[in-house]
């Protein structure tokens, strides 16, 4: 079936925004070689003459490069506009901000949704399984392309934080400051378990078609929506859910004694699920969750996390949130202890909030003030104006 006949698939493979095409092969951690690939990215602000003011923002699981401008599919503002922009904490009048779609993604960077150059058909499950290390190796090519030897800062939350850790440890000379937010140095059994629920929901959808849904003109929307609903619960805290919804009913006075969304919280989750499938590819979800499951920074160093940081000279600022049970504060403390063991330069702040893991995407004033202070201090050390 040719692509023009596909109606249910995302409209086309025109990549929105800026795209870097890398013709050089990438040897993946799995041993498979990706012969060539694309990286979709956005930049904000200007690189200074010394090329010393670059900040790489790494996005989370289902994020994208539209960190501070309008999303091309949803039309919504960028996911970190509260933090990134002119006069904001990550001030685009001072810093040159870069954000790229991760490898395996579905918004301009090579992933399972894109056509396999060898066949012209969508990669689907023929796309090689990728890791956080592979994502960062690909990003590195983009940073080379932009002419930046050393990034002033690499920052990201959740899976973005994992990329930050990977950057600072795999390319220690290229990172001046590192801000891993609400993340962990490895995925816990609980993290993997939740991801597995999401993947099974997708794969149980008959429209998934063994991963070949694009070629068959279908989309596993129900499966992907359920995956999103389950994941979304892990991004919130019990307290936040109670505060927002309690046991309130949705547009009704009494139970229907059926399985409609009687409760507001059900309606909210259904909405989250439906909104998500508009902008995200189900196979990408499988690949990216897999990449985070495989992440274990200490593994390469015989299980000794401190060794990962031994060559790193970066100034670290770790930030966690009190009500985050997906990547709890204890996970950040593990990283802090490892950095202490090699006398690394580390700050660590736990922010009091009831917003759960999602807090890193919200306007948390204490988080913003901390980050502002940290960046200002680093800028002074780096000699940035």
């Amino acid at each position: 079936m040719s692509r023009s006949q596909v109606t249910a698939s995302p409209p086309n493979f025109e990549r929105p925004g800026q795209v870097l095409s890398v013709a050089e092969p990438l040897l993946l951690e799995s041993g498979v070689v990706l012969p060539s690939y694309h990286i979709g990215y956005q930049t904000y602000g200007r690189l200074n003459a010394e090329r010393s003011n670059g900040i790489l923002v790494c996005h989370a699981l289902t994020g994208d490069q539209y960190v501070a401008d309008t999303h091309p599919i949803t039309g919504k503002p960028g996911w970190w506009t509260t933090l990134v922009g002119p006069g904001r904490v990550i001030d685009t009048e001072r810093y040159f901000v870069i954000c790229s779609n991760v490898l395996g993604g579905c918004l301009g960077t090579s992933g399972p949704m894109e056509p396999n150059p060898a066949t012209g058909e969508p990669w689907a499950l023929d796309f090689p399984v990728i890791t956080i290390g592979d994502m960062v190796a690909a990003q590195q090519k983009l940073i080379d392309h932009l002419g930046i030897d050393q990034l002033f800062c690499v920052i990201g939350g959740s899976m973005g934080g994992m990329q930050v850790l990977q950057w600072a440890t795999a390319y220690p000379e290229r990172v001046f400051a590192a801000v891993p937010v609400a993340c962990a140095s490895r995925h816990s059994a609980q993290n993997i378990a939740f991801h597995e629920v999401g993947r099974q929901a997708i794969m149980a959808d008959p429209d998934w078609c063994g991963g070949d849904y694009i070629s068959q003109g279908r989309r596993p929307e129900r499966g992907l929506a359920v995956a999103r609903m389950a994941a979304h619960i892990t991004y919130l805290s019990e307290a936040a859910l109670h505060r927002k919804f309690g046991r309130n009913l949705q547009d009704r006075q009494r139970f229907t004694y059926g399985f409609e969304a009687d409760f507001q919280v059900e309606n909210y989750l259904r909405y989250q699920g439906v909104a998500f499938v508009e902008r995200f590819d189900a196979n990408s979800y499988l690949y990216i969750t897999r990449a985070t499951d495989y992440f274990d920074l200490a593994a390469e160093y015989d299980g000794v996390l401190a060794e990962a940081f031994r060559r790193s000279k970066a100034r670290y600022c770790l930030i966690s949130f009190t009500s985050d049970w997906l990547y709890p504060t204890s996970e950040s403390r593990v990283i802090v202890k490892a950095l202490n063991a090699v006398a690394g330069n580390v700050s660590f702040v736990e922010i009091e909030t009831d917003s759960g893991h999602d807090a890193f995407l919200l306007e948390e004033q204490e988080f913003f003030r901390t980050l502002q202070g940290f960046l200002d201090g680093c800028a002074k050390h780096r000699g940035l104006r």
Binding site: V336, A338, A341, V346, S347, F348, Q372, F374, G377
Partner: protein, 216 residues
């Protein structure tokens, strides 16, 4: 002859430090690596960073203190002397500072050992429980003494391991730690010119500041 107009803006003046902190700061060599344990809101660290160009790190128990430090561009983590010193490697810092905190630790002996291990030198200050006003208060009133440095009631105090100057000298000797310098201060934080080993010093000192190093 008129001076050329300066294009460089002067740094704002470094704010003055509390007496005992100033004394500690004076013991620190410029450009050194410093860990300040119990750094509060970072007054000493900020001073050392600006006035002495040190590479400074801090550890503080209270989250509010940590956040204030990081907001001010200092490298500080949340932690405490009893639980979080083990992770640091031997000789990681030129100086490890523990100011007015020793008496609040659970295991002061281990903490002092850790300080001497992590730092090439350690600087410790603590309130002297042998201070004459304290002795007199207990003798005459028969109640747990309270002073400016030890201001909590007995049932609600973080200060669980109080000691005198002589007690501390004894611990240092037991641990084989060298006292390179010692300074005893009155209750205004002014130094006395007295040998720290003297019995009089143990009566007069409201607090002591010690510069320690490992023997050998």
């Amino acid at each position: 002859m008129s001076a050329a107009p300066s294009l460089v803006l002067a740094e704002p003046p470094v704010p003055a430090l509390r007496g005992d902190l100033k004394l500690i700061a004076d013991l620190v060599a410029p450009g050194s690596r410093v860990l300040d344990i119990g750094c509060g809101e970072g007054e000493l660290l900020a001073y050392l960073t600006r006035a002495k160009d040190v590479d400074g790190r801090g550890m503080e128990l209270s989250q509010a203190g940590v956040n204030a430090c990081v907001r001010n561009g200092l490298s500080v983590i949340q932690g405490d002397a009893d639980n979080d010193l083990e992770a640091y490697p031997t000789g990681a810092f030129d100086y490890v500072i523990l100011s007015q905190t020793l008496q609040a630790t659970r295991h002061p002996r281990q903490v002092v050992e850790s300080l001497a291990r992590i730092g090439r030198r350690a600087i410790v200050s603590f309130p002297n429980f042998g201070y004459w006003r304290i002795r007199l208060a207990l003798l005459l009133e028969g109640r747990m003494p309270r002073s400016e440095l030890l201001s909590y009631p007995w049932y609600d105090t973080p200060n669980i391991h109080l000691c005198t100057i002589r007690d501390f000298l004894g611990l240092a000797a037991e641990l084989g730690i060298t006292i390179e310098q010692a300074q005893i201060l009155d209750h205004h934080g002014h130094p006395y010119r007295l040998a720290v080993e003297s019995r009089l010093a143990n009566w007069l000192a409201a607090q002591g500041v010690f510069l320690l190093s490992r023997q050998g």
